[in-house]
């Protein structure tokens, strides 16, 4: 089916063609936002529009006939880019490229170009159209955005004091920063892809704490927590963490950020402060109790001195009476002096921070026996002992311990005293009577057994209280400080002391002192 080509139609068509060509040319010429350039098949510029002039700043007269590589930077020319693009357009129909180009004044612009091959009817390339768009603004915005993103990324990556970790929506680690490496000890390639629960102690994993935290962050936007966490080397650190849910555009959760801070030092300092405060409170309580009992026991002889003085004054003429009460006055004053001395000794013990050394208890016993030589002889006492260990402690205090226990055994005797001192090693679990330091596993059990008057077992704790006496002052003299002192000495050494007895059958005092120091 061929259309009949009437002369009228041919004329009309030619007119339309010519008109269209003109308008088309005009249209291209007037476009301002695109440089539209016609190149011959070797890349020389044949035509030029307003847009080209606006973008590249050459006027038509200057540029026609020039090679289009004039717009390229020297390095691109050296790399033969213009020719490569032409060849690509020739072979594939078009070439697309983005890159820096040069204006007439030497300034640069970011050009986005498309070179399209133009063919004749026989499909030979007769030239190229080159459309260039100036995307400098867009490029700058994109670059700024990229730089800002990169800066942000580097900022997070290089923060040292916080572990900043990205988790996927199931808690698997997506990235890792220097802070995380520093705090947790893993390198990025060891940890990315692992689940974040790896940082939690076994008991927290069993209690599903990591899952609970993610769940809370999911529900409430974020989850805060403080607790012990585990480093790569198995050591613990006190972490304070914030897990924040990250939302996508449709508000679904796409992951979590997890920021962790290592506050171990602060935690340790806090705990030290707490234990220090607790210790201080205990000491305060002890001091209050001490002040009460001390004032009570010190007031007693003082009151008597005042009473006796008044009685002596009132009965000045009764010589016998006066003699008797002067005697009592003297006893009271001596007792007061003894009490003050013992109290001072006891209070010094509480503050004793002196260095501990190796102390051979055989030597301590020998010296104590020497101190009591006269009394031992007078009482016809026998002291037997097995070989005693060498402990780590305060020589003077251990001397006081031995001295008080042996003098008690001599004092509360019933006939000829027999004192047996034995020692053996026991483990901490074997000591149930009193608390001992958890720092030690093994203790020396040193027993002082006597055949004296003994005591009722119900007083086994009371016997160690300050100023507590089981006997009337007229029966046995003493200050009620000795055994309290022994208890304090055992405790100062990380050990303890216990008492066992039966009235009339003797008493056994057993001190436990650490064996593994």
């Amino acid at each position: 089916m061929t259309e009949i080509q009437s002369p009228e139609n041919v004329r009309k068509r030619n007119y339309k063609h010519k008109n269209n060509n003109d308008i088309y040319h005009k249209m291209i010429e007037e476009i301002e936002d695109y440089a539209i350039i016609l190149l011959d098949k070797n890349g020389f510029i044949r035509d030029w529009n307003k847009g080209a002039e606006k973008i590249k700043l050459y006027n038509e007269g200057e540029i026609l006939g020039k090679h289009f590589s004039i717009f390229y930077l020297q390095e691109d020319i050296d790399a033969n880019l213009p020719q490569k693009l032409l060849t690509q357009a020739e072979e594939t129909g078009k070439a697309v490229h983005e890159g820096w180009r040069k204006r007439k004044d030497g300034s640069k612009f970011w050009g986005s170009i498309t070179i399209t091959a133009i063919h004749d009817e026989k499909h030979n390339v007769i030239g190229f159209s080159k459309v260039t768009r100036d995307l400098t603004e867009k490029k700058r915005t994109e670059d700024e955005l990229r730089m800002s993103e990169e800066r942000y990324h580097r900022m997070i990556a290089e923060v040292q004091d916080y572990a900043i970790i990205l988790l996927d929506e199931n808690g698997f680690i997506q990235n890792w920063n220097i802070g995380a490496e520093k705090i947790k000890g893993y390198k990025a390639d060891e940890i990315v892809g692992k689940h974040f629960s790896i940082f939690y102690p076994a008991e927290d994993q069993q209690n599903k704490l990591p899952d609970q935290l993610l769940e809370r962050a999911r529900a409430e936007g974020k989850a805060l927590h403080e607790g012990w966490r585990i480093r790569k080397d198995g050591s613990r650190f006190w972490g304070t963490i914030v897990i924040t849910a990250l939302h996508g555009k449709d508000n679904t959760i796409i992951g979590f950020s997890k920021v962790t801070r290592d506050l171990t030092e602060k935690k340790i300092a806090d705990e030290k402060l707490l234990s220090y405060t607790a210790e201080l409170e205990i000491q305060n309580g002890e001091l209050e109790q001490f002040a009460y009992v001390a004032s009570h026991d010190l007031q007693e002889p003082l009151r008597k001195i005042q009473t006796f003085t008044e009685l002596i004054k009132d009965n000045y003429n009764d010589e016998q009476f006066v003699d008797r009460y002067f005697e009592k006055l003297d006893t009271s004053a001596k007792r007061m002096a003894l009490l003050v001395k013992s109290l001072l000794n006891y209070s010094r013990l509480s503050n004793d921070k002196s260095e501990k050394t190796k102390v051979d208890l055989n030597t301590v016993l020998a010296e104590t026996k020497q101190d009591f030589e006269l009394l031992i002889e007078e009482k016809k006492a026998t002291i037997k002992s097995t070989n005693l260990p060498t402990v780590f402690g305060n020589y003077t205090q251990l001397g006081q311990l031995f001295s008080n226990l042996i003098s008690n055994a001599l004092k509360f005797s019933n006939g000829d005293p027999l004192i047996e001192i034995t020692a053996k090693t026991v483990s901490r679990q074997d000591i149930q009577e009193a608390p001992v330091s958890l720092l030690h596993k093994h203790f020396y059990e040193i027993s002082f057994r006597d055949n004296g008057i003994g005591f009722e077992q119900q007083y086994d704790k009371l016997i160690f209280s300050l100023f507590q006496r089981l006997h009337g002052k007229h029966e046995y003299n003493g200050t009620g400080i000795g055994l309290a002192l022994c208890k304090k000495i055992a405790e100062n050494h990380g050990g303890c002391i216990k008492a066992e007895g039966e009235p009339g059958k003797g008493a056994t005092f057993t001190a436990y002192l650490p064996a593994d120091v």
């Binding site: 009460y292 009570h296 008597k304 009473t307 009685l311 009271s332 100023f467 009337g472 002052k473 007229h474």
Partner: protein
């Protein structure tokens, strides 16, 4: 009139008895050295029903507070007035003895004259 003094301090016992004698020679006063002795005396000698008991607080074997508790369980002593008699008065001990039914708390005076005055007021009532 009958009294019982429970005190482990023999000097204090002596001064107390001496003072009491000065107030009234006819007052019969027994002594016990601690709570255990006092209870044994009160429960074995039914004929001895004191009108006043003076109880020291710090004593070996059984202290004054424990002794007070036990005396209050002895029905034949319901009319007996019990005075705590100690060197010092600590608030907690003071309250305990009050709650357990002690009539009053006397701090041992350092002057025998003051003791005489105090005891006179108690015994006159």
């Amino acid at each position: 009139m009958q009294c019982l003094l429970v005190d482990d301090d023999l000097d204090d016992q002596e001064v107390f008895l001496m003072t009491l004698e000065k107030i009234n020679k006819n007052i019969k006063c027994l002594t016990a050295n601690n709570g255990v002795e006092a209870l044994s005396l009160l429960s074995t000698q039914n004929s001895f029903v004191p009108d006043y008991i003076f109880l020291d607080v710090n004593m070996p074997k059984m202290n004054g507070i424990e002794c007070l508790k036990n005396i209050k369980n002895l029905s034949h002593l319901n009319d007996c007035k019990i005075f705590m008699y100690s060197t010092t008065s600590e608030t907690s001990v003071l309250e305990k003895s009050k709650n357990l039914g002690a009539t009053d708390f006397i701090v041992k005076p350092s002057s025998p004259a003051t003791l005489k005055a105090t005891l006179s007021v108690i015994l006159d009532n």
